[in-house]
């Protein structure tokens, strides 16, 4: 039941693949509204039982949404009016990126322009998860469509809570992706007392719960140790934003998505006449003055000349990591790693700020 006790009218948003219309070839289709449920919407309908009903399904090609957003949101607004919609459920999109972006965008529109509750679901790597920064409720899923049976009940329950205007707890408790919104709450002990309690537990080697959680620690399998240095082919890879004057690759100082490779062939060191650093996360004055303070080309060239190392790869691989989206930085890292490997490097030095 909705807040007023009536059955919740749900509009379900799907792409043509999930609606059972067709695959990639249908992704340029514009919006169409069908009464009732389609595809996984049928499961959603069943799960709703007496609480509500999928009154309509909005179907639109993922490609169409980019560039025609206003047409799609207009179709959504019209359907909402025609079917007296109380709640929007979009997806789940799993790992389909364009679909995830479309779901996020429509939920944001529903929240902001129509004043309607909306929820979607997608995998953690989906670029659409960025919409949680716009306060959209997004439930995390795995990558595989096969988990639909596990995801749909969660989506349904969360959607019903929203439509019933039930008070929601924190992201942890309710199972949605944190949106970066902090609420103040009164607890029994002061922060100082809680901090001391935590330190005592930590010192005694007992488990404790941090109040500020950083992103989960990644594990990277350690490589075999480097052999003799005089056989080493060393490459420099950096996120410090090292680049030639003129910034030919247009590396941005923040939220950057590109990288470059800059020749230091024939140079005994890197000079401020030719190079500089662009990065919004630290003061580049010292490294601009002497770029070797960031990328130690002069030291490595000395070592190369002395035979202390076999070779310095004559390109510096560089990007600016400030405020970088994890997915972009992962991609950049993978692309750089491929190239570094192709250049025959056996060891990498990564100066980082």
């Amino acid at each position: 039941m909705s807040e007023t006790g009536k059955s919740i009218n749900v509009l379900h948003y799907l792409n043509p693949f999930f609606a059972g219309i067709g695959g990639e070839e249908c992704n340029d289709r514009g919006p169409q509204v069908e009464p009732g449920s389609r595809g996984p919407g049928r499961l959603l309908d069943q799960l709703l039982e007496t609480r509500g009903k999928v009154v309509a399904t909005l179907i639109c090609g993922d490609n169409f949404v980019t560039g025609h957003e206003s047409e799609v949101t207009a179709a959504l607004a019209e359907a909402v009016k025609e079917y007296s919609v109380d709640l929007i459920i979009a997806g789940p999109a799993f790992s389909a990126g364009r679909y995830g972006l479309a779901c996020g965008s429509l939920c944001q529109f529903a929240n902001e322009q129509l004043g309607l509750p909306a929820v979607t679901a997608m995998s953690m790597e989906n670029p659409g998860t960025e919409f949680r920064r716009k306060k959209v409720y997004i439930l995390p899923t795995g990558e595989s469509v096969r988990s639909m049976g596990e995801v749909m009940p969660r989506l349904m329950r969360f959607g019903v809570k929203l439509a019933q205007r039930q008070a929601l707890g924190s992201a942890d408790v309710e199972g949605y992706l944190p949106r970066g919104i902090r609420y103040n709450a009164r607890v029994g002990k002061t922060a100082a007392e809680r901090a001391v309690d935590m330190v005592l537990l930590k010192v005694r080697g007992e488990p404790y719960q941090t109040e500020i959680r950083l992103e989960a620690q990644e594990r990277v399998t350690p490589p075999a140790p480097l052999g003799p240095l005089d056989q080493a082919v060393v490459a420099i890879v950096t996120e410090m934003g090292f680049l030639p004057h003129g910034n030919p690759d247009r590396i941005a100082s923040s939220r950057n998505k590109v990288w470059g490779r800059y020749s230091v062939a024939g140079m005994n060191g890197v000079s401020s006449d030719q190079f500089m650093y662009i990065h919004g996360g630290y003061n580049t004055q010292d490294v601009d003055q002497d770029p070797n303070r960031g990328v130690p080309v002069d030291a490595l060239r000395d070592m190369e000349r002395e035979g202390r190392i076999k070779q310095l790869v004559d390109e510096v691989f560089s990007t600016c990591g400030n405020g970088g989206a994890l997915t972009e930085m992962k991609r950049i890292g993978q692309e750089m790693a491929r190239e570094v490997k192709r250049r025959g490097a056996t060891a990498v030095i990564i100066p980082a700020t």
Partner: protein
Amino acid sequence: MPAVVVTCLQDVAVQVGANHILRPHRSTFHSPFGVPDLDADRERAWRRGAVEAALQSLQQPVDGPQVFEY
């Protein structure tokens, strides 16, 4: 491929799973291979030592994030 992150922000490097991390004590976080207070020759000698330490750290086997200090 062995890769060493050279940074003053060693906790961040540990957090993201970097296996070899060199924490240079004399440099500041915005110039990991520089000590601007030193005169040019001494700074360069220091930098050579830091690069040596970085490469030597890669010769050490590790089984998870390990911070080396210079």
